[in-house]
Amino acid sequence: MRYGLLIDLKKCIGCNACTVACKVAHAAPPGVFLSKVLVEENGSYPHPKVTYLPTLCMHCEDAPCVAICPTAATKKREDGIVTVDPDACIGCRSCMAACPYGARTFLDEDPKPYFPGAAHTPFEEAVQARYGYRKGIVVKCDLCVDRVDEGKEPACVQSCITGARVFGDLDDPQSQVAQRIAMGDATQLAPERGTKPSVYYVGA
C-alpha cells in the first residue's frame, strides 16, 4: 500500500483553499505553509498562460529525507506517508538539504500567535499541542495522517473547490488515482532525482 495524490492542473485555479485548509488542519505557525500553490505566468498579451502549481511533500517512495535523518525522526510509514516526529527531531536540517522539493520548513522560533499583539487563541493552543511545534525542529506536510487514519481524505483533497485532487492507494490498480495515472499522461516533479514522488500531476 502506498498513498499518493494526483493533481489536475487544468482544474487548479490557485484559490488556496487547500493552503488554508492545510494551515487550519495543522494550525501551522505564522509564516509556515506545509502546502501551498505557486503561480507562474508565460506567453504574451493577449494570450498569456497562467499556471498554478500546488505543492506539498511528495512522500517519495525513495525519500532521501528518511535516509539522511540521523535520529530517525523522519520515518516512512507502511502506507508510504513520510512523517517527522517532533520529539526526535534535533533540527540538523540535513533533510532540508536532501529534499529536492523544498517541502520542509525549519522553525527558527516557537510559534508566534496568529493575531499580532495578542495571545494564542484557544484554537491554536488546542491544535498546535497535537503537532509539538517548537523552536529548532523541521516541519512538513504529513498528508494529514490523523485524518487518513480516521478514513478521511487529506484536508487539501477534501477542501479543493474544483475537485482537482484525487487521493488513494497507488498500489491498488482499482483505485481512482492509480487508474488515472495509468492513462499515461501523469508527470512527477523532478523525476530525474530518482526519489519516486507519490504526488502526480496531469493537465500541465
Binding site: D8, K10, K11, I13, G14, C15, N16, A17, T19, V20, A21, K23, V24, A25, P30, G31, F33, K36, V37, L38, V39, E41, G43, S44, Y45, P46, H47, P48, K49, V50, Y114, F115, P116, G117, A118, A119, T121, P122, F123, E125, A126, V127, V148, E150, G151, K152, E153, A155, Q158, S159, C160, I161, T162, G163, A164, F167, G168, D172, S175, Q176
Partner: protein, 906 residues
C-alpha cells in the same frame, strides 16, 4: 426520479437529508477511497460528547450557502470541513470557510456592550469605549427609537450588509414594524445588477449561466464561479469546463483565475462593455440575420407596433397593443386568434399614424454600431466581434428541442451573461438590457441551456393585460413623490438597487436633495457604508451629523469606530440559525437546480457577552413598543411574502402558524413554525436540528426552467423596453411639476433622463477621452476577501496567504509596455490618482491585463486602531471612485467602478 436529457447521461434527482448521513458520509468517503469499513463510523459516533462534529453553515461570502461540519473538542473549535452531503459544496470548502475559525477567536472582537465616551468622531479618533450592561445599552437605544418613532419614523436609517444578511433575517420585518422606509443595502452601488433580469424575466437577483445544459457562454464583466472561488459555484464550473466541455469565453480587462481557464480570454477596454454588446447585436441584426423567429414573434413584444409617442400603438376600441399580421396586412390585437404571422420589420400606417414594430425600431437604433465602430471604443478587433456573434448564433441551435421528463422545450445552449464589471458604469443598464436582446434574438431566455434567472421558480412569466411579462421588484420603479420619503433618493432613482452613497449625500446636504425630515439615528447590521461604495468622506460627514449611531457589531471596524453604542453580535459559528437555501449568483447545474432546503447550525459558544442579532431586535422592539399588536414585529413576520424559494429573507408562516400578536416568542419557536410551514407539517425544527439540513424532494429538471410553467405562446418577454421609458417619463413629469432639476444632476437633467429610453444606445463614460487621466483603474474580488463578510478583513490567515503566496493578489497589475512608457519597473511603488483620491501600491508587471489599465485586487483598507493589524498592504481601491452623481448610472444607481486615473512613481 430520473430525468433523461438529450445531451447527457441520466441525472439523478435526489432527496437530501443532511446531518447524520453527513457524519456517516465522512467515513463513507473514506470507504470509497480506501476500502475501509464502517467500524470507523461507529468508532466516531461512540466518542465522548466533548469530541463531536456538528453541522454548520459558512458565512464567508455573500452567497453563504456551503454546508460545514465543525469539529468541537472540549468546547473549542479545532477544525472545520465541508459537509459531503450538502448539495452545493459537496464536501469542499474554500479558504474563507476554513479561515473563519480565526474570525471566531479573533481577540479584537466586540465582546460586550460598549458606549462611546469621546464625542469627537472620525477615522483614527479613539471613541474611548466604556463597557456597559446589556440592560443599559438596550435601554439607551430603545429610548431613542421610541422618540424617533413618535416624531417621524423615517428619521431612522438602517445600513445592512453581507456580513450578517443571511442569519440576521428579522431585519426587514423589524424595520417595517418600526415604520421607516430607509432600509439600505450597503453593498448596492457596486452590485447594481438586478434591473434587466427583473424587467425581462421577473427574476431577482440576476441571470446566470446554465451549466446543466449550456454549451457556449460569453461572459462579460462577471464571475461565473472561479473568480469568486466559493466551493459550490467552483465545483459546478469545473464540471462544466472539464467534464461537460462547455465553451467559455471571458471578456474582461484582465486575465484572472476564470479567464485563465476559459477557452478564450478577450481583453476589453474598461467601461466599454456596452459598445461590444451593441456591436455584437449589430452583427446579428445586419450581417447574420438568423433569429429564433418563432421566439421573437410569439414569445416577445418585438412585433408590437410602436406609435409616434414611443409607446405601444393600441387598438382604438380594445385598447390592446397591436401587431401587424404579415399574412394579411392587418393590424390586430396581440391576442387576436386570427393572428398568423406577426411582422418584426417594416413601416406601416395604422389608425392614421406611422408605426413600426419594436424590433424594427431597435434594429434601426443599432444600425450605427458596426463592429468597426465597436473596435474603436472597446479595442476588441471587429473580426473578433463578428466571429463571436457567428459562433453564438451557430451554437444556439435555433429550432432544436429537448425533452425533459416528458416535456418538450426549445433547446438553446448559449447565453451572454454580465454582472458588476459591465453594469457598474454609466450606461450599465443599457449594457445589461443589450445582453437580454442578444439572448432573446436566438430564443435563449429561460429555456434549457440559455440565460437563466436565478430568482423564483414557478409561473413568474405570466403576462399582464398587455400580454407581456410584467416588471418585478426594482424594475417596477418607485413612484415619484415630492418631497421624497427615502433618504437614499429612491424617488429620484426609481429603478436603482440601493443607495448608501445617495443617502450619505442627502444627509449631508438635505436642501439639495430635498430631504425634509431630520435623520436622528443610524442603525448598522453587518454593513460597511464607508468602504463598500466609494470614498468614505461624505459618509463620515453624515455619521458625524446624525446624533445617534447604534451598531450590532462583531468587529471594531470603521462603522463600529463611528458608532455611539455597540450591541455585540455573535460570530456566525456562535449563531443558531434557520435559513432557506438561496439560488446561486454564479451559475446553476443539475446538482442544485430545483433544490429547496432548510438548514441550521449547531452553535458553539458564545464565547463572549454577545447576542444573536434577531434576539437583539426582538428585545429592542419590545422595549421601544413595537413588538406587539397590529403592525408590530410579530405581525410583520406574519405578513411575510409567502412566495416559495424567495431569496434569503427566511421563510413565511402558514395560516396555522401565524404568531399571536401579543406574545413574545423565542427565535426557536418562530423557526419551528417556519419549518412546519415549509414542509407541510412533515418536519419540525428539531428534525432539522438533528440532521443539519433537510431538503424537499429535488424538483424534476423540467420544473427548473420557467418556460415550463408558462410555455409556448402564453407570454412575451419585453424586447422593446417601453417600461423603462414609462418610468423615465413619470420621473420627468414629477420633476417638471415641481419645477426642479434632478438632484445631483442639476445641469445634466436631460442627460440623466436619456438613460430611460426604450432602445439601448451608446453612452460615453465619464472622462472617457481625458488625456490627463489616461488610464482606467480596475478592481476585482480575490478569494480571500470577496465581500465584507465574517471579519475577513481582520483575519490573519486570509492575509497571510493573500500577502505572501500569489503576487497577483496583493500588487497592482500593469502591462509591461505601459510601464516602459511611463518609466515604471516591476516592484516600483506607484500612486494611482483619480479625481476623487489616491491609492498607493507596488507594481507587478504582467501580460494579463489590458495596457490601458492599472489593476488593483481585492477589498482592503481603512483599518481602524482597534482592529487586528494583520497586513501592511491596506490599499483602498474604492477611494478612487467618483462621488459625483453624474458619473453614476441613473437607472440602476451603480457607481462608475472603473474610474479614469493617472499613475506615477511614488
Amino acid at each position: 426520479m430520473t430525468n433523461r436529457t438529450a445531451t447527457g447521461p441520466a441525472v439523478t434527482r435526489r432527496t437530501f437529508i443532511g446531518g447524520l448521513a453527513a457524519l456517516a458520509g465522512l467515513a463513507s468517503v473514506g470507504t470509497k477511497v480506501f476500502g475501509r469499513k464502517t467500524e470507523r463510523v461507529f468508532a466516531q459516533s461512540s466518542r465522548p460528547r466533548q469530541d463531536e462534529w456538528v453541522p454548520g453553515i459558512c458565512n464567508g461570502c455573500m452567497q453563504a450557502d456551503c454546508g460545514m461540519l465543525v469539529h468541537v473538542v472540549d468546547g473549542v473549535v479545532v477544525g472545520v470541513e465541508g459537509n459531503p452531503d450538502f448539495p452545493t459544496n459537496r464536501g469542499a470548502l474554500c479558504l474563507r470557510g476554513h479561515a473563519a475559525i480565526l474570525g471566531l477567536y479573533n481577540p479584537y472582537r466586540v465582546k460586550a456592550p460598549m458606549k462611546r465616551t469621546n464625542p469627537e468622531k472620525g477615522l483614527g479618533v479613539d471613541p474611548k469605549w466604556v463597557e456597559i450592561t446589556w440592560d443599559e445599552a438596550l435601554d439607551m437605544v430603545a429610548q431613542r427609537l421610541k422618540a424617533i418613532r413618535a416624531k417621524d419614523p423615517r428619521g431612522l436609517v438602517s445600513y445592512e450588509g453581507f456580513g450578517d444578511i443571511r442569519d440576521a433575517n428579522l431585519r426587514a420585518d423589524w424595520l417595517r414594524a418600526f415604520g421607516t422606509p430607509n432600509d439600505i443595502g450597503t453593498h448596492g452601488p457596486l452590485c447594481s445588477v438586478h434591473y434587466a433580469s427583473s424587467l425581462v424575466s421577473r427574476q431577482m437577483p440576476i441571470s446566470v449561466n446554465d451549466f446543466a445544459l449550456g454549451k457556449y457562454v460569453i461572459n462579460i464583466g462577471r464571475t461565473a464561479g472561479y473568480n469568486f472561488a466559493a466551493a459550490g459555484c467552483s465545483k459546478r464550473m469545473a464540471d462544466a469546463l472539464e467534464k461537460k466541455g462547455l465553451q467559455f469565453i471571458d471578456i474582461d480587462p484582465r486575465c484572472g483565475r476564470q479567464a485563465s481557464k476559459a477557452r478564450e480570454w478577450i481583453p476589453i477596454r474598461p467601461n466599454t462593455e456596452l459598445a461590444f454588446l451593441l456591436g455584437m447585436a449589430h452583427v446579428m441584426m445586419y450581417e447574420i440575420q438568423q433569429y429564433d423567429e418563432w421566439f421573437l414573434k410569439w414569445r416577445t413584444n418585438a412585433p408590437y407596433l410602436i406609435g409616434p409617442d414611443g409607446y405601444y400603438l393600441r387598438g382604438a376600441t380594445t385598447g390592446k397593443p397591436l401587431i401587424m399580421d404579415a399574412s394579411d396586412g392587418k393590424a390586430k390585437a396581440f391576442d387576436d386568434p386570427t393572428l398568423k404571422d406577426p411582422a418584426l420589420m417594416g413601416t406601416y400606417q395604422v389608425n392614421g399614424v406611422e408605426t413600426k414594430p419594436g424590433f424594427q425600431i431597435i434594429r434601426d437604433g443599432f444600425k450605427q454600431y458596426t463592429p468597426e465602430w465597436a473596435e474603436q471604443i472597446t479595442t476588441i478587433p471587429a473580426a473578433t466581434i463578428r466571429r463571436l456573434a457567428n459562433e453564438f448564433v451557430a451554437e444556439a441551435r435555433i429550432g432544436a428541442t429537448i425533452t425533459l421528463d416528458g416535456f418538450t422545450f426549445p433547446y438553446r445552449p448559449v447565453s451572454v451573461n454580465d454582472e458588476r464589471g459591465t453594469m457598474s458604469h454609466r450606461g450599465g443598464t443599457y449594457a445589461d438590457l443589450t445582453t437580454k436582446l442578444i439572448n432573446m434574438m436566438v430564443g435563449a431566455m429561460d429555456v434549457p441551456g440559455g440565460c437563466q434567472g436565478n430568482g423564483q421558480l414557478g409561473p413568474t412569466l405570466r403576462p399582464d393585460e398587455d400580454g407581456v411579462v410584467p416588471p418585478f421588484g426594482e424594475a417596477v420603479g418607485v413612484p415619484f413623490k415630492f418631497p421624497p420619503d427615502h433618504v437614499d433618493m429612491s424617488e429620484f432613482y426609481p429603478n436603482k438597487h440601493t443607495g448608501p452613497h445617495l443617502a450619505a449625500k442627502a444627509m449631508v446636504d438635505p436642501e439639495r436633495y430635498h430631504l425634509t425630515y431630520d435623520v436622528e439615528a443610524i442603525h448598522i447590521i453587518g454593513a460597511d457604508p464607508f468602504r463598500t461604495p466609494n470614498g468614505p468622506d461624505t459618509v463620515m460627514e453624515a455619521f458625524k451629523k446624525v446624533p445617534f449611531v447604534f451598531n450590532l457589531a462583531c468587529f471594531y471596524d470603521l462603522p463600529a469606530e463611528m458608532s455611539d453604542v455597540l450591541l455585540p453580535s455573535q460570530h456566525f459559528f456562535e449563531r443558531d440559525t434557520l435559513r432557506a437555501l438561496s439560488r446561486s449568483h454564479m451559475n446553476m447545474d443539475e446538482t442544485t437546480h430545483g433544490v429547496e432546503l432548510l438548514m441550521t447550525r449547531t452553535p458553539v459558544g458564545p464565547f463572549y457577552n454577545t447576542r444573536h442579532p434577531n434576539d437583539i431586535w426582538i428585545e429592542l422592539a419590545e422595549r421601544a413598543g413595537f413588538l406587539y399588536g397590529p403592525g408590530g414585529l410579530n405581525d410583520q413576520i406574519n405578513r411575510r411574502n409567502p412566495t416559495p424559494g424567495w431569496y434569503f429573507m427566511g421563510t413565511a408562516l402558514g395560516p396555522k402558524y401565524k404568531l399571536d400578536l401579543n406574545k413574545r416568542y423565542t427565535l426557536q419557536e418562530i423557526w419551528d413554525r417556519q419549518v412546519r410551514t415549509f414542509f407541510d407539517d412533515q418536519y419540525t425544527l428539531a428534525d432539522v436540528k438533528k440532521h443539519g439540513f433537510i431538503a424537499k424532494p429535488q424538483l424534476p429538471l423540467k420544473m427548473c426552467y420557467n418556460y415550463y410553467y408558462v410555455p409556448g405562446k402564453e407570454t412575451r418577454h419585453p424586447f422593446y423596453f417601453n417600461h423603462l421609458k414609462e418610468v423615465g417619463d413619470k420621473l420627468r413629469a414629477g420633476l417638471e411639476a415641481n419645477n426642479i432639476p434632478l438632484p445631483g444632476w442639476e445641469n445634466e437633467t436631460e442627460l440623466a433622463l436619456s438613460f430611460y429610453q426604450p432602445v439601448p444606445h451608446w453612452v460615453e463614460p465619464p472622462d472617457f477621452r481625458s488625456s490627463e487621466y489616461d488610464m482606467f483603474a480596475i478592481n476585482w474580488k480575490v478569494p480571500y476577501l470577496p465581500s465584507a463578510c465574517s471579519g475577513l478583513l481582520d483575519n490573519p490567515l486570509t492575509f497571510e496567504v493573500a500577502d505572501n503566496l500569489d503576487p497577483y493578489d496583493c500588487n497592482f497589475w500593469l502591462h509591461p509596455e505601459t510601464a516602459a512608457r511611463k518609466g515604471i519597473r516591476n516592484g516600483d511603488m506607484v500612486v494611482v490618482e483619480s479625481r476623487s483620491g489616491k491609492v498607493e501600491g507596488t507594481v507587478i508587471l504582467t501580460e494579463r491585463i489590458h495596457p490601458e489599465c492599472i489593476g488593483i485586487p481585492g477589498f482592503r483598507g481603512l483599518r481602524t486602531m482597534h482592529q487586528a493589524q494583520v497586513t501592511e498592504k491596506d490599499f483602498f481601491f474604492n477611494q478612487l471612485i467618483s462621488n459625483d452623481d453624474t458619473h453614476w448610472d441613473p437607472v440602476n444607481g451603480g457607481l462608475n467602478q472603473s474610474p479614469k486615473v493617472k499613475i506615477y512613481k511614488a
